[in-house]
């Protein structure tokens, strides 16, 4: 009886978790930028989620498990920050790029030609707290409310972080495009 209950619980969890595992691992990798750490983090998130599966409300499993993952990551990040290995990024206003000039529209052709690895590389250069919001929103498709819950900040802060994160990403992509000769500095092609 006990084994049957455990088995059914496990089967349900495994089905749900396997379906979203690529997102769990992908998010972990984009947050940590290290395969080994990503594996550890995603594994830890799966184990924590399994232990707490009784408390899952049955609504959105992916958002729920990504919340667990993000919390785990943030706690780890905060611990590192306390030991002085990571600088504070939250209040750095200089990260917000100046508003785009009127004549500067995004070059859709250039963006279409960018490879996944190039975008990933540019994304990895975005400061962590902004990157987290952008990943959860634009890659994982979470709502502002879900991101707010996952990162434990108000919805307004989420919107601000996403805007800043995209600006930083845009700057990184532009730098990359200039380095690669796709566009010339100051004159969008």
């Amino acid at each position: 009886m006990l084994f049957k209950r455990v088995s059914s619980h496990r089967d349900r969890f495994q089905r749900e978790a396997q379906a979203v595992y690529p997102s769990v691992y992908g998010t972990a990798l984009r947050l940590t930028r290290d395969r080994e750490e990503a594996e550890d983090l995603s594994q830890e998130a799966i184990v924590r989620a399994y232990e707490a599966f009784d408390r899952f409300d049955g609504q959105n499993f992916k958002a729920w498990i990504l919340r667990i993952l993000t919390n785990l990551y943030i706690n780890k990040y905060r611990r590192k920050k306390r030991t002085g290995t990571t600088a504070s990024l939250d209040d750095d206003e200089n990260l917000f790029e100046p508003m785009a000039p009127a004549e500067e529209s995004p070059d859709r052709v250039m963006f279409d030609n960018l490879m996944g690895a190039e975008v990933e590389e540019a994304l990895s250069r975005v400061p962590e707290i902004f990157r987290t919001a952008v990943i959860l929103s634009d890659i994982e498709g979470m709502t502002y409310d879900e991101i707010a819950e996952a990162t434990d900040v108000p919805v307004g802060t989420v919107r601000s972080r996403i805007a800043r994160g995209r600006s930083a990403l845009r700057a990184a992509l532009e730098r990359y495009a200039i380095e690669q000769g796709y566009i010339k500095q100051g004159t969008p092609d």
Binding site: F13, S42, L173
Partner: protein
């Protein structure tokens, strides 16, 4: 007051309240440059969605499965132990009690040499005729009455129970006048663990008690132990003499 640029990103994501949406549309009409911000937001969003794919990670997933298996195993063990703790404790108690009872039943006629050694506390100084002493000390020890102790003088006597069995203990002095001998008779014991080494003489076994040689033999379900500062061979000869009528 909302930041106009942040409003454009909220608009691109479709996460504005009706009031914010209205404000965003008003700002777009008033500040055409915000249109570029909106386009950037939409372009970056689309680029991320199409360029950053999550790939299957079978090896990493299999490690997760391994961790879950471990967790389940540990849960099952914990659950089993906590659920049946009372039964396991009961069974253990039962085994201990049954073991004790069985040990007592099986070894009912066996005494430990340390129990016999405990009977060898300093003898009382009373001195009397050996037969009288026997009768006084243990009128129910029939075997004792049949021992030939004429050659010995009783220098002390004691009696009581050891492990629930009646015993008699006599301090003896031999015909030459040498003391340092003790004779112990225990009813309902046919073996004393630790005093069961063969002597080469049928019916007699030997060992050591309180660093003294001793020999023992059995008469009618009684164990007799004779010990003293003598060699084993001498003690056996004395024992034989006690058995002869």
């Amino acid at each position: 007051m909302n930041d106009p640029r942040e409003l454009m990103h909220g608009l691109a994501d479709g996460h504005l309240s009706p009031e914010e949406h209205q404000e965003a549309m008003r700002l777009l009409a008033e500040q055409p440059e915000l249109q570029r911000e909106l386009e950037w937001a939409r372009t970056l969003k689309a680029t991320l969605r199409t360029s950053c794919k999550n790939e299957a990670q079978d090896a990493a997933w299999n490690k997760c499965i391994g961790r879950l298996d471990e967790l389940d195993r540990s849960k099952r063990h914990t659950s089993f132990v906590s659920k049946y703790a009372w039964a396991l404790c009961g069974a253990l108690m039962l085994i201990i009690v049954a073991g004790g009872v069985a040990n007592r039943a099986v070894g009912s006629k066996t005494l430990d040499s340390t129990q016999v050694a405990s009977l060898l506390d300093p003898f009382s100084a009373n001195s009397s005729d050996s037969r009288t002493a026997m009768r006084m000390a243990a009128p129910d020890l029939d075997a004792a009455k049949n021992l030939n102790l004429r050659e010995y003088q009783v220098t002390s006597q004691a009696s009581g129970l050891v492990d629930g069995r009646p015993f008699v203990r006599l301090g003896l002095r031999d015909s030459v006048g040498l003391g340092g001998l003790a004779l112990v008779l225990i009813k309902d014991a046919d073996r004393i663990a630790g005093l069961d080494q063969p002597t080469g003489h049928a019916g007699f076994t030997s060992g050591k008690l309180n660093n003294m040689n001793c020999v023992s033999w059995v008469v009618s379900g009684h164990t007799v132990v004779l010990l003293g500062e003598r060699s084993t061979e001498e003690l056996v000869q004395m024992g034989r003499g006690m058995l002869s009528r």
